[in-house]
């Protein structure tokens, strides 16, 4: 396939031909043991990417770990991690490279085990085509369906189903036809642009490069023949112009370049553009490169643009076609592939990275989970590792996006757990939620600042956290009285007046506790917005939940106050007799007893209830506010 030139061949011609080759990125997927790694090993071997020293290492490895008796086990070429070689399985996605006379290929070889689905999705996210392997003896399995669904969800429009191990079913044409018909029927709803089903034997190399003499009944292309010829080009360069600003290049006062990768459309100097969020209009002045300015740039190019006017655009802003702008919204619905070891908790705040834009956000609703076997929609409260759900998200700030099916780069995002920094979900945006879209665009004439001028005070949220019995409510009450005496407008939110009204539908499970705090945070935010000093007195035991509440507020508005008392002290006080009941097992999930309290790491204030009495501590808060 990869015709190596003889020494006398004109190498320059070869290189110039090579330089003009296109690139195809594809992934191989399918159930475990369907022969993915063997297929890749075969492709590398047949395209002479395997060197002699690697082959020697492979021979010795094959004897040690191989599954093919004395023959070379090609899978060992690609299973690179020690654990993978020992267990004979693929755990992580591996990237492989080979070339034919027509094309260069980057292959993402992805694992088949269900528990490594997230790695399969990783490989699919950058591919233009998927080769889905099916074991001819087993036919279509659950993983075949799961992978096909993810392939479709991640926007891959071209699929090859390679029915492997044909040698083990005596190259049976009827069995192949049966599998092909079955797959086509089930994949019909995915609407792939092309779907090619090919009978192969990766082990023997049948219908990989050369047509197999044992399958004269098959008239279609070989795998390589198909990969060489298929046109996966999209019309991204013909779509409206989009360039998310990645970095601002300001070497001196005279130059301000907007760096980024064009994700759709093309651009020339003089073209009108807009900044998506602000709507400011300007024109492209120059397209700057180290080799001199260029006259045109297009989708996929990493460019530095200068603009004719000074506009307010920084990292995360999208420079776009002024006539066809992306949507701007802080609420949207999306499919999520959950990748975290810990399950999704609706209402918990995650970091969101969408293109070059960063925000925080919560999953406000799980519409349904998708059963990858039946494609049924299940009602659920949460998503676990490798599950796929259709969800609503609410972000702390609006972002610019296009639906994923229109633009992969503009419609994708990831969620990150802010405690562990792990990537916990991949998201593809379906559409914005119109209501929030409208609310956002409504101009608000009377805002927080103008209300604060009328009330004559700096609105803040005083967030008292601590163990039950630490003295939160006592101190918060005193603080409110002192503020009131100074003519300040206040409102105190505590467990009693919120749990019995607004939150009476919530219990004490982890999910409900998160939701409880989320609602209290939102209410406190509204009071702050109204110009009030809002006092919140809640145990709020989890750091991440208090952090979530904090993100609702602007800098300086959220005052976290740790009402500190050692557990023995709080338990000895036990004003409501709750600790005793918890010790007797009459109350479950009681903070400090059988549910943890995570003290603040950097609170604005710590009130030491052992050293001072409530009166003195309340004065400490008043002093902090500068109102003494």
């Amino acid at each position: 396939m990869n015709q190596l030139p003889s020494i006398s061949a004109p190498v320059v011609d070869y290189l110039e031909n090579h330089e003009q080759k296109g690139l195809l990125r594809f992934l191989t997927c399918g159930s475990v043991d369907d022969g993915k790694s063997t297929l890749i090993g075969r492709l590398l071997h047949d395209s002479k990417r395997v060197f002699e020293d690697q082959l020697a290492a492979l021979r010795s490895d094959s004897r040690k770990h191989g599954t093919q008796g004395k023959a070379i086990d090609f899978a060992l070429l690609v299973d690179g991690l020690e654990a993978e070689r020992e267990q004979g399985i693929t755990i992580d996605v591996a990237y492989r490279f080979f070339a034919t006379d027509h094309r260069k290929f980057i292959v993402a070889d992805t694992p088949g085990h269900e528990q490594y689905t997230r790695n399969m999705a990783t490989g699919a996210s950058t591919s233009d085509l998927a080769v889905i392997l099916v074991d001819a003896r087993k036919g279509i399995l659950q993983q075949t369906r799961r992978h096909s669904f993810i392939v479709s969800l991640l926007g891959i429009r071209h699929v090859v189903v390679a029915v492997n191990k044909m040698d083990l079913i005596d190259f049976d044409a009827d069995r192949f036809a049966e599998i092909e018909a079955g797959y086509r029927a089930f994949a019909e709803s995915f609407g792939f642009d092309t779907l090619q089903v090919i009978p192969i034997s990766a082990l023997q190399g049948a219908n990989i490069v050369e047509r197999s003499p044992q399958m004269p009944w098959y008239a279609g292309p070989t795998l390589i023949g198909h990969l060489n010829e298929i046109d996966v080009s999209s019309d991204d360069a013909g779509r409206p112009f989009r360039m998310p600003v990645q970095w601002i290049n300001r070497p001196d006062l005279d130059f301000r370049g907007y760096c980024g990768t064009i994700v759709s459309g093309r651009i020339r100097p003089g073209d009108p553009v807009a900044v998506a969020a602000s709507g400011q209009h300007t024109r492209i002045a120059r397209i700057v490169t180290m080799d001199g300015d260029v006259e045109e740039a297009q989708c996929g190019d990493a460019v530095t643009l200068t603009l004719t006017d000074e506009v307010d655009a920084s990292r995360g802003d999208v420079i776009c076609d002024p006539k066809a702008r992306p949507e701007i919204a802080d609420r949207f619905s999306a499919h999520l592939i959950w990748m975290g070891d810990q399950k999704l908790v609706p209402g918990r705040t995650y970091a969101v990275k969408a293109g070059k834009q960063s925000a925080t956000g919560v999953v406000s609703r799980i519409g349904h989970r998708i059963d990858v076997n039946s494609f049924a929609q299940d009602e659920v409260d949460s998503l676990s590792l490798n599950e796929i759900g259709f969800c609503d998200l609410a972000l702390s700030a609006p972002i610019a996006f296009d639906p994923y099916e229109v633009n992969r780069e503009m419609g994708s995002f990831i969620l990150i757990d802010r405690m562990t920094n792990q990537t916990v979900a991949a998201g593809v945006i379906w559409r914005s939620l119109r209501s929030a879209d409208n609310i956002h665009r409504q101009a608000v004439d009377v805002d927080k600042q103008s209300r604060a001028i009328v009330t004559g005070q700096k609105p803040v949220a005083l967030w008292f956290t601590g163990l039950s019995g630490a003295g939160k409510s006592t101190i918060a009450n005193l603080v409110e009285r002192k503020l009131h005496a100074r003519g300040r407008l206040t409102y105190l939110l505590d467990g009693d007046n919120v749990r019995h009204g607004l939150n009476q539908d919530l219990g004490f499970s982890d999910e409900d506790r998160v939701e409880n705090i989320r609602r209290v945070g939102e209410v406190a935010k509204l009071f702050v917005d109204a110009g009030l000093i809002s006092l919140v007195s809640f145990i709020s035991p989890f750091r991440s939940d208090r952090q979530m509440a904090r993100t609702l507020f602007e800098e300086g508005e959220f005052v976290e106050i740790h009402v500190a008392a050692p557990l023995e002290v709080a338990e000895a006080r036990d004003p409501k007799g709750l600790y005793q009941k918890a010790r007797e097992g009459k109350i479950r999930n009681f903070t400090g007893i059988d549910s943890p309290y995570e003290p603040p790491q950097a609170p604005e204030l710590v009130l030491d209830t052992v050293a001072l009495d409530a009166e003195a501590l309340a004065d400490q808060v008043i002093r902090y506010l500068g109102l003494d």
Binding site: F97, C259, D301
Partner: protein, 301 residues
């Protein structure tokens, strides 16, 4: 379609995007500069990514004191040309203990003078991101590595627990002390590198080109006598041979090949008909199949 980009143009754009992402998101990045051909390409891409500004980070060279002399001269010239600060670091303790590739074996020597030295340098300057020129096609464990490869505060790599890396959205978050190794050339092959050097006219160390040089033959490999520190074994004589290098490192650990290839086109021709992979020129990889993975877990690049 006349506007379709070639694979090299696409690789270039991808690398530039990665380089910019690090500068935009990380606090204190550095580029590991090993002076080899991959480093040369990486440096060239960095200059393109940030033009007209110079790349906004320093170059770091971990100097084992056993590099070829021509490499050091080339290093200083390239840093000056790019307008970048050049930091060098040597494991002083290793030098004081006289650690060298002859008496201590290549594996211990590499651990002390390369891996430990690298970790010392990263800690000393407090870098939270370090670019490396490694490619996924070089070696099996590399083929599994992310573009943004997370490292613990002890610089360790946990291959079984890598962050999923979707689309071109990179999770760059690290806690204090933790860091990222970032590989802008992840998806390049050896041929792509040479091709790009040829099209972009990128300067490389002259040792890649064939020339008469003094060598000794040792365990079937040709080792260049770059200075008088190379102890000659009984019976060994330094002789002039026409040789070049496919990969560059510490001279006592880098095997030369006999060659007449003294132009880029000749080098590529040789590469295309080669029967052994480039890493075989590095004497440290031979021990066991998973030796690279092991080194990487311990903090090697």
């Amino acid at each position: 379609m006349s506007n379709r980009r070639s694979h090299l143009q696409r690789l270039e754009a991808e690398s530039i995007r990665i380089l910019r992402e690090v500068v935009a998101e990380m606090k204190n990045p550095v580029m590991l500069y090993s002076i080899g051909k991959d480093s040369s390409v990486m440096l060239h891409l960095a200059r393109k990514a940030f033009y007209p500004a110079p790349p906004p980070f320093p170059l770091l060279h971990v100097d084992t004191t056993w590099k070829f002399r021509e490499m050091i001269a080339f290093r200083d010239r390239m840093a000056a040309e790019a307008g970048m600060r050049l930091l060098t670091h040597t494991n002083a303790q290793g030098v004081a203990e006289g650690v060298n590739p002859f008496d201590h074996g290549s594996s211990y020597y590499t651990q002390v003078m390369k891996t430990d030295a690298l970790k010392q340098a990263l800690d000393r300057f407090g870098f939270d991101a370090a670019f490396g020129g490694a490619r996924r096609d070089e070696e099996k464990s590399r083929s599994k590595e992310r573009v943004f490869s997370f490292r613990s505060a002890a610089h360790g790599w946990d291959p079984k627990n890598q962050r999923p890396e979707l689309w071109s959205i990179f999770n760059t978050r690290v806690k204090p002390g933790e860091s990222m190794r970032v590989f802008p050339l992840s998806n390049w092959t050896e041929l792509d590198i040479w091709q790009y050097i040829r099209t972009e006219n990128i300067p490389i160390v002259p040792l890649y080109f064939a020339k008469e040089r003094p060598v000794v033959e040792r365990n079937g490999a040709l080792v260049m006598v770059d200075d008088d520190r190379l102890p000659l074994h009984p019976g060994e004589v330094s002789q002039m041979r026409r040789i070049r290098f496919r990969t560059l490192g510490c001279y006592p650990l880098t095997a030369a090949v006999e060659s007449d290839a003294d132009t880029l086109d000749d080098i590529v021709t040789e590469m295309l008909i080669a029967r052994t992979s480039e890493r075989s020129g590095r004497l440290i990889d031979h021990d066991e199949a998973a030796s690279m993975e092991k080194k990487k877990r311990e903090g090697y690049f």
